[in-house]
């Protein structure tokens, strides 16, 4: 429990206030450290008292996260963090609920709860650490590992087709879908802010390097030389340009995206797709999600979609209030005596 004194006016918090007294036990060099730091740095900016934050996780390396946050926290069971979080948020909509999960926890064992929390649209924030491998169980392929991946449990290469987490989230009616990278701290912090700002379930996928079992999985997106040609930073209202000299862009051929060169003389910036994260129709966001981890395309990083719709808990609270307005506060005497009652003398 925290030692910070209560005052009437909100205390200006710092990243340090969000660090718990527990030793962080991830492997040296793990991408999780960067994400933890980004979260601890961003939370003080959100203007929410520390006691209103709840971090909820499942099982896996990433799911140790709540222990390192000096907030309320639940380290739950494998895959079910989203289900626990639904109960927390429904019981107290005033809390700022954050779910920390991984590609195995969130998409494999927890796939069902993952789609349903998004569909219901509780106002919670999901951060999925995607390292495309099982870390805590020591290196088996995950539902985001590429076909052919050789691991302890796939010595001849994985034959599973991987999920694209953003496509799954959009298919589940996701209103906020974004992608960031552990190494890109500034971008990551911005995405955390944006996740929080969205009313409804936000889904933030963070490419996260596992130094032990899948080192370098995202190096093409993080190393200086390769990054410009492989990362497409999305900005609302801006054309899709990428490359070391901004010499490449994305056009749409029907519903199919295509990489074009702006140097060839055939295309200008005006021909490129302009990103619109506010489109009600999820088709455009879905097209972006198909480019994600697709070797033919740069990887779109940023907010794919940010379209609010009513949250589950607001619907729930509205129904309770409507019922109270119509029938009055619940009265046990009335409830007990409902229906046909008779007296024995």
């Amino acid at each position: 429990m925290s030692e910070v004194a209560t005052k009437n006016e909100p205390v200006k918090l710092t990243a340090k206030d969000f660090a718990s007294d527990q030793d962080v036990r991830w492997c040296p060099g793990c991408g999780d450290y960067a994400i933890l730091a980004a979260v601890q740095r961003t939370l003080p900016e959100l203007g929410i008292p520390r006691e209103k934050f709840v971090f909820i996780s499942g099982i896996g390396c990433s799911s140790r996260f709540p222990y390192y946050m000096n907030t309320y926290g639940m380290h739950t069971i494998h895959g079910r963090a989203t289900a626990f979080a639904s109960g927390v948020k429904a019981a107290n909509p005033d809390l700022s609920v954050w779910i920390v999960t991984g590609d195995g926890d969130g998409l494999s064992i927890g796939g069902n709860h993952f789609i349903h929390i998004i569909r219901r649209n509780f106002d919670v924030n999901i951060i999925m650490f995607n390292n495309e491998i099982y870390g805590l169980t020591k290196g088996q392929y995950s539902p985001t590992s590429e076909v052919g991946k050789v691991t302890k449990s796939s010595p001849f290469g994985s034959i599973d087709t991987p999920f694209k987490p953003t496509s799954v989230a959009l298919g589940a009616e996701g209103g906020f879908v974004a992608v960031s990278i552990d190494r890109d701290t500034k971008h990551l912090q911005e995405m955390i802010r944006r996740s929080h700002a969205h009313k409804g379930t936000s889904f933030l996928e963070v490419y996260q390097n596992c130094v032990i079992f899948n080192d370098g999985a995202f190096s093409a997106l993080t190393e200086k030389e390769s990054k410009p040609d492989n990362v497409l930073y999305l900005e609302h209202g801006k054309p899709l340009v990428f490359g070391s000299e901004n010499q490449k862009g994305i056009v749409l051929d029907g519903f199919t995206p295509k990489v074009v060169s702006l140097n060839s003389g055939n295309y200008s910036v005006n021909d490129l797709m302009v990103h619109d994260e506010k489109l009600k129709d999820p088709t455009w966001a879905t097209i972006l999600s198909r480019m994600n981890r697709n070797p033919e395309f740069p990887h779109p990083i940023g907010v794919y979609r940010d379209v609010p719709r009513p949250t589950y808990e607001s619907g729930l609270v509205n129904q309770l209030e409507a019922a109270k307005a119509k029938k009055g506060e619940g009265n046990l005497e009335k409830l007990f005596n409902e229906g046909d009652v008779w007296e024995n003398n």
Binding site: F55, Y67, F84, A90, A91, N92, H113
Partner: protein, 609 residues
Amino acid sequence: MEKDVQVLEDVTIRFAGDSGDGMQLTGTQFTNVSAMMGNDLATLPDFPAEIRAPAGTLYGVSGFQVHIGSTKIYTPGDRFDVLVAMNPAALKVNLKELGPNGIIIVNEDQFNEKNLKYAGYEVSPLEDDTLVKYRVFKVKITYLTGLALEDMKLPAKTVDRSKNFFALGLVFWLFSRDMEPTIDWIKDKFKKNAELVEANIRSLKAGFNYGVITEAFQAKYEISSAKLPKGKYRNITGNTAMAIGLVTAAQKAGLELFLGSYPITPASDILHDLSKLKNFGVKSFQAEDEIAAVASAIGASFAGSLGITTTSGPGVSLKGEAIGYAVMTELPLVIVNIQRGGPSTGLPTKTEQSDLNQAIYGRHGEAPLPVIAACTPSDCFDAAFEACRIAVKYMTPVILLSDGYLANGSEPWKIPSPEAIPDLHVEFLAEKNGKQPYSRNEVDARPWIKPGTPNLEHRIGGIEKANNSGNISYDPENHHNMVFLRKSKVENISKDIQPAEVYGDLTGDLLVVGWGSTYGAIRKSVEAARSEGKKVSHLHIRHLYPMPENVATVLRSFKKVLVPEMNTGQLAGILRSNYLVDTIQQNKVHGQPFKAAEISSKIEEVLRG
């Protein structure tokens, strides 16, 4: 026409027909009217898992049995005195349980070649000597209902759907029931369709008048009201009593009730009932599966609500890991299991008591939690309240067992006064005051701390934790101590529950021990044995884990111990292993409750032996 009126002490009626014939509704109406006329009663709805099984088939028969009387009624009746059979299949399925010289009312119109064939009758039982031992009344129910509604020019289907009211009207007449409550009910139920109101009321009256004017019936019957204790009553099913009990506990604890549930037979009615009670602040959440149902309830408890999850055995199997998490994190939670025939899908609409071992032992690791069982439909109210009391006082998940028979069965409930129900004192930790997330109070419960409380931020989780601080601990000594602490915390609840109450003498030749829904059948058979001077007593165990402290003494005060159960001997095994008592088993897994006569004959056999 004047008829003889005979006064009966009790009567058992079974309404049977196709699963689409409205037999549950018909039976329920007869029950409610009888309850309002002051009879004591018990009911046994018995229906197939299929919603609308093919018409006329044996497996599509739906039945509703009701036992009413002017004395204390413990069971829905071993055999019935009256069988209302809407088709040949209903007759075939139920005939073997009709008592000697019983009354059969059949819908003669349905005894056609096709239906007889479905039921496996080569010759119509109305025409050979199949029914010679009974008093048979052949009534053209379909035809007569059609005549009563002729001028309304209704579609044939609507007319057909009203015929159960004709049958009900006839039985109302036969047993001198008041039609008014049912007429009021029809008016309310079908208020959006004036035509249906008219058709159903006309059919009901036509059936009643058929009894008055025809000479087919020589006598009619009356059942005086029962001498129940003074007070207000309503007829209630186990599931409704359960829902009301849960919401009452939440109110008395000053907590919001959060229900995380996934639809499952025979528990769904609790979800339905609680979903209506939004003005009580009840938050009902129909989860995507059983695991999400319990997980959301645990999340709600962490956030400061009373988390409840309702299900049946298959659901409890799925919830096992999360229940263990609630044990580990020491959060209040009530898991309601309306047991049904198992294993696997088993017999979803039939009753069984086969989840006792699952409730007590069904988790990985050492995961002790209190287990409580309701014993009659109205007792589901008290059992639900008790489960919640223990959950919030001891910061523990509690499993509350009911079963299909209690859930759908009904009996008069003596309505308590809300003021007379004790408060469940719940205090959230608001300030640190030297306390930690896993500090212990006088009963070893840890503090309940609501997220949102300043300066009490803390983390809970499934990893073993150091006592007091709650921080992760892999220390061997600590794990050993925590395992035993969680166990003793739960076991010590035995000091805080009602001692087991013995019906009859405190010593004797035979103690019949039961739990759950066998209460009525056991009590009736023990009463009968005692009235014959036999030294037999009855012990019914509500708290199955931990058990009341006096159970050991009670068990040892009798020469023999008989344990009737609707399983292969789960309580018998527990008593044997915990108390070293040589229990005699009586087991039945027919998907049907015990008949009192079955237990009576076992009592005789044991006493002889």
